[in-house]
């Protein structure tokens, strides 16, 4: 018995590291492009107009005989990926603003402290039982969240997504902050503007499995191949939603590639300021451009002392704001499948794209001039 066990142990000892290392060596060949086997459609280069996307029929789901609450007070719950990061604090702010304007909407935000799929599902499930009129969500995983959202629809609860989508038939509408390819284009264009079309760059993202980031990165691949063939993609590193780790990973990239490195992309509102911090503290402002998605407040110090030229982001406050208006519109029946636009308070009319997505508009670019006008 004992001998046998020892044998197994020795084997596992030999095999495990070997296999891991070989595996590690292998998939160095095909570098991860974030595509997750989904199609990409890069926008045309430069200032060319994007061909208008061919109209697509409504592909969202519908609640099962929801109560008619047109004009009535409604209670909404908002379940973002997680709470505790600035980005979702901002969307919450927007929702509150909208609720105030409308006056007949009450919305509360409640979510796990980690971006964890089964936790988020439990939260939503509880609110279905508790009985709310509508659910706003930002999905940690488009598929995983599906069943529970469908359950909500069956319970006659309206479901609207924002920031991170779910499978279309699991929700009615999705408020899309910006098209993936739009973000990709904006990011790469600003890098090109700052460092030229032959810049070489690294990326710090949250995790390879976070859908939004993955999609953005894959669109960047596609767009870079189309429009900036001379750019070199050095490396992409994971850093969770963790500021320290993002900082460390940025340092690692800076140290590893030295002068070779022209730009750092931060793919999350955590990673971008962390990257900027790293560049600043390495006193490499100017040499290494930091470009990324982030909220203004976090970036003000860097933008103001000129270390960061441009921050790409939609306005998350508006995103939350829009989500509530869309929800209200559904309940009031002013937004129905097949519509092509929707009224969203101070944001005016928003376009509806590929079937069931409300588009917030093109990504916004914060610069030294305008960043101080924003506070979130």
């Amino acid at each position: 018995m004992r001998k046998f066990l020892t044998l197994i142990l020795v084997l596992s000892f030999v095999v495990a590291p070997f296999s891991v290392l070989t595996a590690a060596a292998q998939d160095d060949e095909d570098r991860w492009d974030g595509a997750d086997d989904l199609p990409v459609n890069p926008l045309p280069c430069g200032d060319e107009e994007a061909p208008a996307p061919e109209p697509k029929d409504y592909d969202g789901g519908q609640p099962v005989d929801p109560p008619d609450l047109a004009g009535e007070d409604i209670v909404l719950v908002d379940v973002p990926k997680l709470i505790g990061i600035g980005y979702f604090a901002a969307t919450t702010l927007g929702q509150q603003q909208a609720a105030e304007e409308l006056g007949n909407v009450e919305v509360t935000t409640d979510a796990p402290t980690e971006g964890n799929i089964d936790e988020q599902i439990t939260f939503i499930d509880n609110y279905i039982t508790r009985g709310v009129d509508g659910i706003l969500f930002a999905a940690n995983d488009p598929v995983a969240i599906g069943p529970v959202l469908k359950k909500a629809l069956e319970a006659g609860i309206h479901v609207v997504g924002y920031d991170a989508n779910a499978v279309p038939d699991a929700r009615e509408w999705f408020v899309n902050q910006a098209e993936f390819n739009g973000i990709a284009k904006a990011l790469l264009d600003s890098l090109a503007a700052e460092k030229g079309e032959d810049a070489s760059f690294g990326i710090v993202t949250s995790t390879f499995t976070t859908p939004n980031q993955a999609r953005w990165i894959s669109e960047m691949w596609a767009y870079a191949n189309e429009c900036y063939p001379d750019m070199t993609w050095l490396e992409t590193l994971e850093a969770q939603e963790d500021y320290n780790l993002s900082f460390e990973q940025s340092n690692t990239l800076i140290d590893k590639y030295g002068d070779e490195l022209d730009g750092l992309f931060g793919m999350t509102s955590v990673a971008t300021p962390a990257a900027a911090d790293a560049v600043t503290q390495a006193s490499l402002c100017g040499e290494v451009a930091v470009i990324g998605l982030a909220t203004p407040n976090a970036m003000k110090p860097f933008v103001n002392d000129g270390c960061v030229k441009s921050v790409v982001l939609w306005n998350p406050v508006d995103l939350g704001y829009a989500a509530v208006y869309v929800m209200r519109a559904i309940v009031d029946g002013t937004l129905e499948p097949g519509d092509t636009e929707v009224e969203a308070g101070r944001l005016g009319t928003l376009q509806i794209v590929n079937g069931s997505e409300v588009l917030l508009g093109p990504p916004f670019i914060y610069t030294e001039e305008n960043i101080n006008d924003f506070d979130f």
């Binding site: 495990a16 604090a89 460390e248 600043t280 976090a298 003000k300 110090p301 860097f302």
Partner: protein, 352 residues
């Protein structure tokens, strides 16, 4: 006759090669140091960039706050307890520190410098208080530490969100940045002589604190009492050492060091976020890899510090070696396992 044997045996111990060997290869500390050097040299030979000064600095600075938190964890584990709530506590205290520094409701006579000082000191005190509470429950109410801290893990996490509203803090005043990774002259703190300017603050803190604690644990009666209680509580009681007092001390100091780590963490960056990665596991790992026996009674803070650096070095090394990031964590786990096994093996050999 007594005196003769004495001198004889004293000499024997001073110069016996066996005892020297035992002290060199016989401790996890030196093993780690060796591994660390080998690793750095190897990676350096694979990729020159790795040896660049800035990277070296980052290698040592990166896990400084882990190392400092590990100081407290080492004490706690040596007394035969454990604290898995340190992660939540650290984030809470960072937020607290930031909140104090940006709060604008102070009366006029409170100068910015004073606010900053508060932001640096208060979290440490609060940390000590939390440590005291945990220690009290563990000792006087006799509930296993792992249970208590498991409870505190979620209590603190919850309170943190409730208090902070889940938003991050930015726009801290200029002088607040205490622990940035940059030559010290940039930091508006004149108290440090030029010598340290090559170092960066995190490394500086890590090294100084580790040395102080190491000395304290070796030369102060209380420091030794930690080992006594962890090694044989009954014996300690009979040599007049109060287990309760010692364990309390361990938990309070643990709180203090978590506080310091938190302040460093907060003052290192321009943004303080409420993100809760499972730091506690990293800290415990560092402590254990550093040769602190989970059963209590043995281990040193130097080991824990080296382990913290070691872990960070691995993470960076894997990038510099172009190992696919997907496999990073697997390899880390494997290396952790191997170092721990090495430690166990050595212990077996020694007790023989």
């Amino acid at each position: 006759m007594a005196s003769i044997t004495q001198t004889v045996s004293v000499r024997r111990q001073r110069f016996s090669p066996s005892s020297i060997l035992r002290s060199v290869l016989g401790s996890q500390e030196s093993v780690l140091l060796l591994a660390l050097i080998l690793l750095i040299v190897w990676v350096g030979s694979e990729n020159r960039q790795f040896l660049a000064t800035r990277n070296m600095v980052n290698v040592f600075a990166g896990n400084a706050y882990i190392a400092i938190a590990a100081l407290g964890m080492t004490m706690v584990i040596i007394t035969g307890n454990i604290d898995i709530s340190v992660g939540s506590l650290m984030v809470t205290l960072s937020m607290l520190s930031g909140a104090i520094s940006v709060y604008d409701g102070y009366p006029s006579w409170v100068s910015t410098d004073l606010t900053i000082a508060l932001a640096w000191v208060l979290p440490v005190i609060v940390g000590a208080l939390v440590g005291a509470i945990i220690g009290f429950i563990v000792t006087y109410l006799r509930i296993p530490a792992i249970v208590v801290t498991l409870g505190f893990l979620s209590i603190l996490k919850g309170l943190l969100i409730i208090v902070s509203g889940g938003d991050r803090i930015t726009g801290m005043p200029k002088g607040y940045a205490l622990a940035q990774i940059r030559p010290l002259e940039d930091v508006s703190m004149p108290i440090f002589p030029a010598f340290f300017q090559t170092l960066t603050m995190p490394v500086f803190f890590m090294v100084i604190l580790t040395i102080l604690v190491a000395l304290w644990m070796r030369y102060s009666p209380t420091g030794r009492a930690l080992y006594a209680v962890g090694g044989n509580a009954e014996a300690a009681r009979l040599s007049g050492i109060s287990r309760h007092r010692v364990v309390m001390t361990a938990f309070i100091l643990n709180g203090v060091f978590v506080g310091i780590a938190a302040v460093m963490n907060a003052t290192q960056f321009s943004v303080i976020q409420v993100t809760l990665p499972p730091i506690e596991l990293t800290i415990i790992t560092a402590t254990v890899v550093g040769g602190v026996s989970i059963l209590g009674g043995t281990g040193t803070v130097v080991g824990a510090m080296l382990a913290a650096i070691f872990l960070n070095t691995i993470t960076k090394a894997l990038v510099f070696l172009d190992i696919s990031p997907f496999w990073t964590r697997a390899i880390q786990g494997m290396l952790i396992l191997i170092t721990v096994l090495a430690d166990l093996y050595r212990r077996h050999r020694q007790s023989a």
